[in-house]
Point group: C2
Chain length 174, copies 2
């Protein structure tokens, strides 16, 4: 598998002061299947909510009928972890300067779609399953975003109410 050079060169040069790009490996190590699409009201990046908690819009997840049986018992879950592919994001930036923070930060300290593997994650509330279509709340991606995975959310291992992101908590201090 060879990376698509076009995909890798879009926006190659760092766009904002302080941003740092690296050379990515010449080959991919593994391959992904798109298993469905996420349908949302947002067709332009600037219209998307800044984070998944910001919007109450009901969105739908359309799973490829090939995987219909994999949805058995999903309807018993109140919350799901959704993994999806940010196919328009550049992958080579290791330090980014998000507009609303104004200071460089490592990509692994951010939830930005820009990262070596642009897999995004949202914890959604499940409202309804009809056939291979799921209605959910709390997702923030562009309409037609490729779906990668659906997982049950287990509070026993996934919920950490006391977790802190220090740089974010302190960003308006001192």
């Amino acid at each position: 598998m060879t990376p698509d050079p076009k995909a890798e060169t879009i926006d190659w040069f760092a766009a904002r002061p302080g941003e740092v790009a690296v050379d990515l490996p010449a080959q991919f190590d593994a391959g992904l299947y798109f298993i469905g699409r996420i349908r949302t009201p947002w067709t332009k990046r600037e219209d998307c909510p800044k984070n998944a908690g910001e919007s109450d819009a009901v969105c739908t997840i359309e799973v490829d009928p090939r995987y219909a049986k994999a949805l058995d018992k999903v309807e018993t879950c109140t919350h799901l972890i959704i993994l999806y592919w940010m196919d328009r994001a550049r992958r080579d930036l290791v330090v980014q300067t998000p507009r609303h923070y104004g200071e460089g930060r490592g990509s692994f300290a951010l939830r930005s779609p820009v990262r070596p593997n642009p897999i995004a994650l949202s914890v959604v509330q499940l409202l309804k399953v009809e056939g291979t279509t799921l209605s959910v709340k709390n997702i923030d991606c562009l309409d037609n975003t490729p779906l990668l995975d659906i997982k049950p959310y287990f509070a026993s291992v996934d919920s950490k109410p006391d977790a802190q992101v220090g740089w974010h908590r302190d960003r308006n201090k001192g």
Copy 2:
């Protein structure tokens, strides 16, 4: 990108009663880079903890030095979301019969590594960052598992303490 036929045919036939396999697409849709390795005490599948909360072992995440700068500010996080690649899992089963439940369930209702895209997810407690090595607790994978991504855990959007997985909650009733 063409799937490796060998990888796709291992254990092709359903091994347990009630399991269902599907034909996977002929082509991958996107490619992943392995960005590091997860070092754990477990070298055989049967030694791994059943879930990430079950073990207090300190494990290390070794990030490829290429991405060193992407770790800036990660040390300010108490918890991280780790995505990794379950490279030994078959991808074609849509209904599985986990040994300890004894009944078929859809892959998307399970946290099993067996799924069309075998991306696993653990919420870990971060103990220490030294260079490109992270010490963490609460991960359950085999030694040398390929790393895909590191994300800060934001309690505001990621923590759902009241979430329920109905089939799991009810499995010992009636």
